[in-house]
Amino acid sequence: MIGMASRLTLQVRAFPRTWLPAPGNLHRRIDRRDGPIAGKHQGAIRQCCIAASLTFAGRPSNGAGLRRFDPRGLFVLPIAAPEPGIVLTEPESQRDLDTLGARVLAAQARHAPTPHQVASGALASGTRYALEIAVATMVGGAIGWQLDRWLGSRPWLAIVFLLLGLAAGFMNLLRAVNREAAALARDDTANAGKEGDT
């Protein structure tokens, strides 16, 4: 319990006191991605909201349950409707936000996968598709064998379905490669966009 208490105070200290009573303000800042804070500090603000929901939403949760899925792949926080006209002007608050943003970025960098982790992940998915090729071939062969028994066309359907099963396994593999390539391309464009911002 002592550890938990100290973590909580850390989170409260991490963002300025003036913010806390108006979570709607935070929400507005997230929504307006074109504002001066948006691009650079978005991660920081989202972190802030999660911490704020821990202490102020009055729910027995670490904030996980408050996050909602968003088609853009972001987690959006369902905090009350934005109050118009409140803008963050105090330089002290801005400074606090800057340090928090830097800390969040540093933490994210620490958690980025190492080359070794990426390679292990590739190996794991590789063995997965290898198994799928083997099993699809066997399932195809089994279907063909059973059809042969029913139709009395031994061994032709077994051979045909064995090959179809093999094709199914390789099609899965090809599809996975295409999906991976598309994801990489998406990441590349996202990174290019990010570099364009700064």
Partner: protein, 248 residues
């Protein structure tokens, strides 16, 4: 020295026959019950004093839940939240069964293809039921990829069908093969330690080598136990996604 396969043998502890079928309480049933008890204890400790600032157990339960729900959000989307309890239970059971199997003298439930295939068959049937309930006969478009030339259509549909039918088999074989292979390997190296220890001369000193190997293998098996539980739950999400969202 016992055979490395002896650890997978099933013994009846409470013989029972229902309508001519063997429904005995076996060591496999016992360790499934132990896994359930461990999960129940973990969840009870984590939820009994729910607080805004979570305690250690609550943080563990919430972390695990957040992990599974994150996986569902990522792979299925907002419509998948309904199935979070099922996937969470599945993940937790497979994980705990895998981990309990690593304790000496215990039994690994997931090293039996009967158990893993029962899960996979349940998931497969569930995917079919959900798919037809949500999309009706439109669900069959799952077997027709977009922009397929009409000439290739019969061939492609057959291939897609085989690929879909092989899903429960890959799902079950992956978990079962990983657990069985790892446990056999552990037993084989343990057998080397004993044989070398009983041999005369300097051979007992060489027993250090398989011992070191076994320690390393144990670490690897711990990783495999967690990763395979994760992969099992992840693939369940991927398969459910096809039924819920009908990608094309």
């Amino acid at each position: 020295v016992a055979s490395p396969l002896e650890q997978f043998e099933i013994h009846r502890t409470l013989p029972l026959s229902v309508a001519g079928y063997d429904a005995s309480f076996t060591n496999a049933s016992l360790f499934m019950a132990v896994a359930l008890l461990a999960i129940w204890l973990f969840m009870w400790l984590g939820t009994r004093n729910a607080a805004i600032v979570p305690g250690r157990w609550q943080a563990a339960v919430e972390g695990l839940h957040e992990f599974v729900v994150g996986m569902i959000d990522e792979n299925i989307g907002p419509n998948g939240r309904k199935y979070a309890p099922f996937i969470f239970s599945l993940f937790l059971f497979v994980l705990v069964a895998n981990l309990i199997g690593l304790i000496p003298y215990s039994f690994t439930v997931t090293s039996h293809v009967a158990v893993t295939f029962a899960f996979a068959a349940l998931i497969f049937i569930m995917c079919l039921v959900i798919g037809f309930a949500r999309h009706g006969l439109h669900f069959f478009t799952l077997f027709v990829p977009p922009q397929t030339p009409v000439i290739l259509l019969p061939l492609i549909i057959l291939i897609e069908l085989i690929s879909y039918l092989s899903r429960p088999l890959t799902l079950s074989v992956r978990l079962f093969a990983n657990m069985t292979a790892g446990h056999i390997l552990l037993k084989v190296f343990a057998g080397f330690i004993i044989s070398l220890g009983l041999a005369g001369g300097v051979l007992p000193l060489l027993g250090i080598l398989p011992l070191g190997m076994n320690v390393a293998l144990y670490a690897l098996e711990l990783l495999v136990a967690v990763v395979q539980a994760y992969v099992f739950a992840l693939l369940t999400c991927v398969y459910l996604n096809d039924s819920i969202n009908l990608p094309h």
